[in-house]
């Protein structure tokens, strides 16, 4: 028997890629944002008191029967279409049977040999703009399990003193998207992994079928990795790293598994087909449970549910509701707005495309919209520990603020303060400016007095400016601003100083 050498040291990524070609595969679970669960009228809601969003059906009580949530089927079809899949005109659910306390019926209602969507692809945009096509094997509907909290021990079920179970999540609708094996990724495998998961998240967000928040588990990724020696086309044994639930983690997990596999294989060992746990702290994986293709879930067609029949007319009707594909939309917006690649990437990363698009549509220039959303609004959101979108800033407010600046009534700094006052409920920007007396001081008399005072207190600066070092004027603007409580028009201050010292 071959030594499996589980402890062989991982190779460096570079060394691994010199000897092997990685093969990837992903199973991404998307939690739908339907009002009710997959097979019952219990609410589908996150974060409530444990075991309150439950019904006889999702508790698996004796005699309870499932009924399919039509909205979830609609979401599955729309997602299937967005992933360029064929939609099954008729498909069935199946029972996937295993005993586990988070699964109330001791089977998961899923789809087995008849997924609702199959054979599609998703074009994934890499960092340099290159497009990589990921082939989709299938997308099928299923229900989520409850949530176990293990008390004592390591926090895993083994060694725990007791376990608590919350069935609020049991029966929440899921769509599982399974890729075909991804070959030819080479050294870009980790980047492709991240970009794929990111692209899936973008698609489900654009479809508005999921809250798509990875930190809440709305989008969960299992990453399969195997290696084949360079030049070979026979897949190696794969590992499946479960619940890699952030973009970074997906990238790191794939990187680590490639290195680990290479380490084991070059040391003469063989890979064990198993699930792996992702450890965020150490950015490594650890052994889970052995998994073989012969795992026997005793699947059989769910007799309590009739087949789902999707008429071609319905499918076409749903196709007409599909939003512009996210990648195409990004290309279109980047061109229209004229941002640099870096600027645009930052906007995408901040998740503010929708907001900026709306602000631009309301009449702001793309530059102004970006300046506000990426600047002060993001800063305030950060300070308040919320998402920028959660502040409730209206496009009209931004347009009003930038109008006040353009008219010279306030400067940028005052405008930022006005926004904060506005968010605290003090009224519209114009109201705040007049109520608080924040108008820029452009009255020559008051400004001249302030400038004279600043010059008198900073003779060394005056000397420098008089000697031609115009940059030094800045050192006089500060004190003038202080004197006028920030309301001085900086340009005007500059003019007065230059005029007084006779420089130009």
């Amino acid at each position: 028997m071959t030594e499996t050498l589980p402890d062989a040291a991982p190779l460096s990524f570079q060394d691994a890629l010199e000897q092997f070609d990685p093969v990837l595969g992903f199973e991404v679970h998307v939690e739908l944002n339907t009002a009710t669960k997959m097979f019952s009228a219990a609410p589908n809601a996150f974060g409530d008191e444990p075991n309150t969003n439950v019904s006889p059906v999702c508790l698996g009580l004796p005699g309870a029967l499932p009924v399919v949530n039509e909205k979830a089927v609609e979401s599955a079809i729309r997602l299937g279409l967005a992933l360029n899949c064929s939609i099954a005109e008729s498909c069935r659910f199946a029972r996937k049977q295993y005993f586990y306390p988070d699964t109330p019926k001791n089977w998961q209602t899923s789809q087995y040999d008849e997924p609702i969507a199959h054979d599609g692809h998703l074009d994934v945009e890499l960092d340099d703009g290159e497009i990589f096509r990921v082939e989709i094997e299938r997308a099928h509907m299923e229900e989520d399990a409850g949530k176990l909290t293990h008390q004592g021990g390591s926090g895993r079920i083994q060694g725990a003193d007791s376990s608590l179970v919350d069935y609020n999540r049991a029966g929440v609708p899921l769509i599982e998207i399974v890729t075909k094996p991804i070959v030819g990724a080479g050294s870009r495998a980790p980047e492709i992994a991240r970009a794929y998961v990111s692209a899936v998240r973008d698609v489900v967000k654009a479809l508005d079928i999921s809250d798509a928040r990875m930190e809440r588990g709305n989008v969960r990724c299992d990453a399969n990795v195997s290696l084949m020696p360079k030049g070979s086309s026979t897949f190696g044994t794969r590992s499946e790293t479960k619940n890699v639930n952030s973009m970074r983690a997906v990238e790191h997990a794939v990187t680590f598994e490639i290195r680990r596999h290479a380490g084991v294989l070059t040391a003469g060992g063989s890979i064990v087909q198993e699930t792996r746990h992702w450890n965020e702290d150490t950015r490594t994986t650890s052994s889970g449970r052995p998994k073989s293709d012969a795992d026997d879930y005793r699947y059989f067609p769910e007799p309590d549910l009739v087949p789902i029949v999707s008429s071609p007319e319905w499918i076409e009707e749903l196709r007409s509701t599909l939003p512009e594909p996210p990648a195409e939309r990004r290309r279109r917006l980047r061109e229209a707005w004229g941002y640099s690649d870096a600027e645009f990437r930052d906007v995408v990363a901040a998740g503010l495309l929708d907001e900026i698009e709306e602000t631009v549509a309301s009449g702001a220039s793309p530059a102004t919209a970006r300046k506000w959303w990426m600047g002060e609004i993001s800063r305030l959101a950060n300070a308040r520990d919320v998402e920028p979108t959660a502040l409730g800033v209206q496009s009209a407010t931004i347009i009003e603020l930038s109008g006040l600046i353009d008219e010279g009534r306030i400067n940028d700094k005052i405008a930022r303060q006005v926004l904060e006052f506005h968010l605290d409920g003090e009224g519209s920007p114009a109201e705040i400016v007049s109520a608080r007396g924040l108008e820029v001081v452009s009255d020559d008399g008051a400004l001249t007095a302030a400038v004279e005072k600043a010059m008198a207190e900073n003779p060394d600066v005056v000397e420098k400016v008089a000697g031609g070092k115009l940059k030094a004027i800045g050192a006089l603007i500060g004190p003038v601003m202080k004197e006028t409580r920030g309301q001085a028009d900086a340009g005007k201050v500059r003019e007065i100083v230059m005029e007084k010292l006779g420089v130009s």
């Binding site: 006889p56 508790l59 698996g60 009580l61 004796p62 005699g63 309870a64 029967l65 499932p66 009924v67 399919v68 029972r95 049977q97 005993f99 306390p101 109330p104 019926k105 001791n106 089977w107 079920i157 376990s163 179970v165 012969a294 026997d296 005793r298 699947y299 059989f300 007799p303 309590d304 549910l305 009739v306």
Partner: protein, 513 residues
């Protein structure tokens, strides 16, 4: 009147209530007295696992008050309002325990009502209690109940059929005029046959299954148990109809089953005798009554034809793969984690797997375990195609046989069971012999079609049942044929249900004290 009240049909009770001849409270009390007299003790029938006196009387009082007040509300009462009913303990009820005849659910109280129970409550039929059954409806004799056997009122040393022996015995012994059963392979019809009562297995989807603890989801169907075809038909009307909580429930309008049952004219009706469901394996007395029924129908103008259903030869084998497969899955939820029995292992570590194992080892009886093991095996990778897959193909063939038969005949006819009630204990150690009891009833479940069993006379003093089968959604046709046979056989004689021997109520009472 009180003394005889329990011996009326449900239709007669309803009429007596309507005209004010009796009150529902009197009617319920009379049944409770009867239950007290014959059900308890060593020699008692043990048809009831739970009697809900207070609830039944409260419903009865409500109905009486509405009738007394008169007016629109009284007018709007369901025709069967105030007529008491018993419910098989496989159907969940709020406020009364639901055990499924198993230790696994001892003392378990459902937090919700089955849809059929909601409909019965809405129609204000007082619920007398819950009736005995083979554990999780697995059996043909009610001997597999964890709460003792139910005795056949015709001979208390014999089985009342199963799994719904409690409901059939209760109706036969005048403990209740109406009852609900469930039929997966004959659990309503075979008990009906051996107790001289009427039982219907409706078209699959005719009655909501929501709240019936599932044995085999694709075969299970709730149906009525009564002493006459018309009573059964009226109860069927009450519980039928689309239920959005059951995906397999039919959207159809509920036909007038009662009216169909009252139709006595069979002239021109083509009745098909199924070649495979007679002869070998059927007792002579059963075949004799069957032949007499055919003669009576022919004389009344029906056309008797023979139909060939060659695939029926494999029906029992297919059934004993599909049913246990689905049952093994449906019963997986009983694991001691959320509700019902929870048994911890006597020694060793307390892990979830070991608690689940200990709970299932202690909570399930032998027949349940036998079927779970069979079903688990049949669904296992590598065996699925040979067992579950092949059985489903047989199922399709049986459906085709029926389709062909229904081209030649409007309804089909057979003995309901091959034998009369057998003595308690006779087949308990021979599961295969027990399974053979269902040979004539199983094909209807596999095909999803309706079947009804009506009394066809006696053999050696024990009731024989005659089964009518109709195409899916043509339950009314089965009621029409069954109602006609009932009329023909009772033209010159007392109905069979009225001929049951008097039970030794004193013995039951003494033993109960």
């Amino acid at each position: 009147m009180t003394a005889d009240m329990t011996r009326l049909t449900a239709v007669q009770m309803a009429e007596a209530l309507r005209v004010g001849e009796i009150t529902s409270v009197d009617l319920v009390r009379a049944h409770l007295d009867r239950i007290d007299a014959v059900d308890g003790g060593e020699a008692g029938l043990n048809a009831f696992l739970h009697v809900s006196r207070d609830e039944a009387l409260a419903t009865a009082e409500e109905v009486d008050a509405i009738r007394a007040a008169g007016g629109a509300e009284a007018e709007a009462l369901h025709p069967l309002a105030g007529v008491p009913i018993a419910i098989k303990d496989l159907i969940v009820t709020v406020g009364q325990p639901t055990t499924a005849g198993s230790k696994m659910l001892e003392d378990w109280m459902s937090p919700y009502d089955a849809t059929v129970v909601e409909r019965i409550r809405a129609a204000k039929l007082p619920i007398l209690g819950k009736t005995n059954l083979d554990e999780f409806a697995m059996g043909s004799s009610t001997e597999h109940s964890a709460y003792g056997v139910t005795r056949n009122p015709w001979d208390t040393d014999r089985i009342p059929g199963g799994s719904g022996g409690g409901s059939a015995a209760a109706v036969a012994a005048f403990e209740a005029p109406l009852a609900l059963g469930t039929d997966t392979g004959g659990s309503i019809r075979q008990p009906g046959a051996v107790t001289g009562t009427v039982g219907t297995k409706p078209t699959y989807g005719s009655v909501s299954r929501y709240g019936a603890i599932a044995m085999a989801s694709s075969l299970d169907q709730i149906g009525p148990v009564a002493r006459t075809t018309e009573d059964a038909a009226l109860l069927h009307e009450l519980i039928a109809g689309h239920d959005p909580k059951d995906s397999t429930s039919l959207p159809d309008e509920v036909p007038a089953f009662g009216e169909a049952a009252r139709t006595t004219d069979v002239s021109g009706l083509r009745i098909g005798v199924i070649k495979q469901l007679q002869g070998e394996g059927y007792q002579d007395g059963v075949l004799a009554r069957f032949q007499e029924s055919l003669d009576a129908l022919r004389e009344a103008g029906a056309e008797i034809v023979e139909v060939d259903c060659p695939s029926f030869e494999h029906a029992l084998s297919a059934y004993y793969l599909i049913m246990p497969s689905e049952a093994s899955s449906n019963l997986a939820r009983f694991d001691g984690v959320r509700y019902g029995a929870r048994v911890e292992p006597e020694d060793g570590p307390l892990t979830i797997e070991r608690v689940m194992g200990a709970t299932r080892a202690a909570g399930f009886g032998d027949e349940v375990k036998r079927r779970i093991i069979l079903g688990t095996y049949a669904l296992s990778a590598g065996y699925y195609d040979a067992y579950y897959g092949s059985a489903q193909k047989v199922r399709t063939l049986i459906q085709r046989d029926f389709a062909a038969a229904f081209e030649q005949a409007d309804v089909l006819i057979s003995p309901t069971a091959p034998t009369v009630a057998f003595p308690l204990g006779e087949k308990l150690d021979d599961p295969l012999a027990m399974y053979l009891n269902d040979v004539a009833t199983i094909p209807a479940n596999l095909a999803g079609i309706p079947g009804i069993s009506v009394p066809g006379g006696l053999s050696d003093g024990l009731p024989v049942g005659i089964q009518f089968l109709a195409p899916a959604r043509e339950d009314a046709r089965a009621y029409r044929a069954a109602g006609a046979l009932e009329t023909l056989l009772t033209a010159d004689a007392e109905p069979l249900w009225a001929q049951a021997p008097e039970l030794s109520t004193a013995a039951a009472q003494t033993a109960g004290e």
